[in-house]
């Protein structure tokens, strides 16, 4: 860390986080995509919130510490190095909350923000539809105007966290006559209300991390429209930016995994896989340094645009190759269920979700390199 200059306050913040985690971290919990694991993860979110570590960058009014971006990355480094659990509140905190802060009404902030910081309300992301993956503009689920609100109809799929979540957020077509990108509205909805059917789908790892959600005349009051009616696309694009960019995959996660990979390699130092082990470390180190560069850029007033796609391509490919190397080192034992196998299966999803890596490459080519659009 010596190449980066941290202030005394930042070093103190790091120490406080480290000490708190050492005293409170429960370690690895059962998968959050099981009933037992979901309960344990909600409990952990409560503990985190009680220490005010759940949403460090948020204003104190909503349970945060008003921490800087630098402090957030410091916290995440400590969090992953401590081996603390994955975050069941991630959809809410990382994807929905920035939208509520940016586009929500005061009433929505009051109603939802605090409850997502302590696991009281767990949110499901209802992005995809059976005929719409990365092509969000082709969404078909509808919202029809009724007195005092809207009626939702249609189907969402691959909805992360939905089997054990409380509420969902997603886009619905509120004006069928408008062009593809227009006429979409962003709705918040209750997963346990009349007309909603949640059908869990087992993921590759055997846990029901996804669900299909069916909407049959589901009433949503006007107060649960997020952003303006018809502005859903604009609002959703800022969410996608959050998911692909800095907020979801902090470098601490990969640095910690690279450290564990070195431990694994040390059990068989003669392995011919040593170059791959080194490359995993280099990749994680590059990601850490790149992230600090982004932090400096953002703190100097810059923004992260299409570069978020560069970021997503790197961490998703790194995560996968790092875990493939671990399985190779494990040899025949690689097929046995365990932390490496579980994390490997999770890493397989990286190049697929949050906009496939093919979509990301198109974005990099068109918006960063300036190549012509069109032609698929």
């Amino acid at each position: 860390m010596s190449t980066l200059e941290f202030t005394e306050a930042e070093e103190a913040f790091r120490l406080e986080a480290r000490e708190w985690l050492a005293a409170n971290n429960p370690g690895r919990l059962p998968s959050m995509d099981t009933a037992e694991g979901a309960a344990a993860h909600r409990e952990w979110e409560r503990t985190l919130a009680s220490g005010r570590w759940s949403v460090v960058t948020w204003p104190e009014t909503y349970g945060g510490r008003d921490a800087s971006l630098t402090e957030w990355v410091i916290f995440e480094e400590e969090y992953y190095l401590a081996g603390a659990p994955t975050r069941i509140s991630q959809n809410g905190i990382s994807l929905l909350a920035p939208i509520i802060f940016g586009h929500g009404t005061e009433a929505q902030k009051e109603r939802y923000l605090r409850d997502m910081t302590d696991g009281t309300l767990v949110w499901a992301q209802a992005w995809s539809e059976p005929e719409a993956g990365s092509d969000l503009a082709s969404l078909r689920a509808t919202a029809t105007r009724v007195e005092g609100g809207w009626k939702l109809n249609g189907q969402k799929t691959w909805s992360s966290r939905a089997p054990f979540a409380d509420r969902g957020f997603g886009l619905f077509r509120s004006d069928p006559s408008a062009e593809r990108h227009r006429g979409l509205t962003y709705f918040l909805f209750d997963l346990h209300t009349d007309g909603v059917t949640v059908r869990p789908i087992d993921q590759l790892d055997g846990t029901p991390g996804f669900a299909e959600i069916f909407f049959d005349d589901v009433f949503v009051p006007d107060e649960d429209v997020l952003g303006g009616v018809g502005d859903g696309w604009k609002v959703a694009m800022s969410t996608a930016g959050n998911e692909r960019g800095l907020s979801l995959r902090s470098p601490g996660r990969f640095c910690a995994a690279a450290e564990r990979l070195l431990d694994l390699w040390a059990t068989d130092p003669q392995s011919h896989l040593r170059d791959q082990v080194v490359d995993a470390w280099i990749g994680a180190e590059a990601y850490r340094l790149y992230t600090w560069g982004t932090v400096a850029h953002v703190e100097a007033g810059g923004s992260v645009g299409a570069e978020g796609s560069i970021n997503k391509l790197w961490w998703s490919e790194l995560d996968l190759s790092l875990h493939e190397t671990a399985l190779s080192l494990l040899g025949a034992d690689a097929e046995l269920s365990g932390p490496w196998a579980d994390d490997y299966l999770f890493s397989l999803s990286g190049p697929v979700y949050a906009g496939t890596n093919q979509i990301q490459r198109n974005i990099v080519a068109e918006r960063v390199l300036g190549l012509p659009r069109g032609g698929r």
Binding site: L262, D275, I282, Q358, N362, L369
Partner: protein, 320 residues
């Protein structure tokens, strides 16, 4: 800015671009490859006026006492523009090697750009035919006489066999080797950036099936991957320079990581550039060849990827 270049470093980079962009560097490179050094040496003088040759020489010897970060700024641009000559040897390595030795008298003339030297970190010395003095660097520092010329895959790199001669000093070669490796990494990064820029420009104007080939997803994806690789190599190069300047215990490891990543990224850029250019990219007459061949040569120079990976692993294991 806590992690990034200063406004002065940006300005230095732009000044180098202005100078080198206006010079016909490819012509100088092609002449250099035939042993005609005149255009290359003229370029050397003009870069000396911008301070490049004196970056690491102390102020008392007429240099700038600049940082390793400044060095990477310069070498990235030298790589981008494909400048030929023993730059790493004269500008990055010798100023760390010679102070305190009987050869210290050379430093002022290195700083002013009057003298060029070559340093062989192994069996061969680059451009020893144009160097005023040639050194062999092992556990000790020796003068060396250039012997037979060997042909490099990069024709602008004129290599000469050396056998160590008179011993000059007992030194720790590591700091100078690390600076050479760092400069080489920055040069690779710059060459990779150039290969990407030239490829992007080419696929925008080259049409097939009635449209620019840059519209095809298969082409876009190749170039996007190059952008990603270069963007993540850059902070490793910067960090290695910062660590060398600060003298951190992990500086050598950081240099090795920079060399591996910059070499991989530049090599990917060269392979991709050749692929998207098609047959024209496979010709010597087209300037792209200058960078494709230089990258291949530099990937193996100043420590191979395998050697640097081994050094990283050793350091990581030691730290545990």
């Amino acid at each position: 800015m806590r992690f990034g270049r200063t406004p002065e470093q940006h300005a230095f980079s732009e000044a180098l671009d202005d100078l080198l962009g206006a010079a016909d560097v490819p012509a100088a490179s092609r002449a250099w490859a035939t042993g005609d050094h005149s255009a290359g040496l003229k370029l050397w003088q003009r870069l000396a006026e911008l301070g490049v040759t004196g970056l690491l020489v102390s102020e008392e010897n007429g240099g700038l006492s600049a940082s390793a970060v400044d060095l990477t700024v310069a070498f990235e641009r030298l790589g981008y523009h494909g400048v030929p000559g023993p730059w790493i040897e004269s500008v990055a390595v010798a100023p760390r090697l010679l102070p305190g030795t009987p050869e210290g008298d050379l430093l002022a003339r290195l700083a002013s750009g009057e003298a060029l030297v070559s340093v062989a970190p192994g069996k061969r010395a680059l451009d020893a035919d144009v160097a005023e003095r040639t050194y062999a660097l092992g556990a000790t520092l020796c003068r060396a006489e250039p012997g037979a010329e060997r042909t490099s895959v990069d024709p602008t790199r004129r290599l000469f066999e050396v056998t160590p001669g008179e011993e000059i000093a007992t030194i720790d070669p590591a700091p100078a080797l690390d600076l050479g490796t760092l400069a080489c990494s920055a040069q690779l990064l710059g060459a990779g950036l150039r290969l990407l820029d030239d490829s992007v420009a080419y696929v925008k104007q080259r049409t097939q099936f009635g449209r620019p080939i840059g519209e095809f997803q298969a082409v876009k994806h190749l170039l996007a991957d190059v952008r990603v690789a270069l963007d993540f190599a850059a902070p490793l190069v910067h960090n290695a320079a910062v660590e060398l300047d600060a003298g951190t215990p992990t500086a050598a490891r950081a240099v090795s990581a920079a060399k591996v990543a910059a070499g991989d990224a530049a090599y990917l850029a060269s392979r991709t550039a050749l692929q998207v250019h098609g047959a024209i990219g496979y010709t010597r007459e087209f300037d792209l060849s200058l960078w494709i061949l230089k990258v291949r040569a530099l990937v193996g120079a100043w420590g191979t990827p395998a050697e640097h990976r081994a050094r990283i692993l050793e350091s990581l294991v030691e730290a545990r």
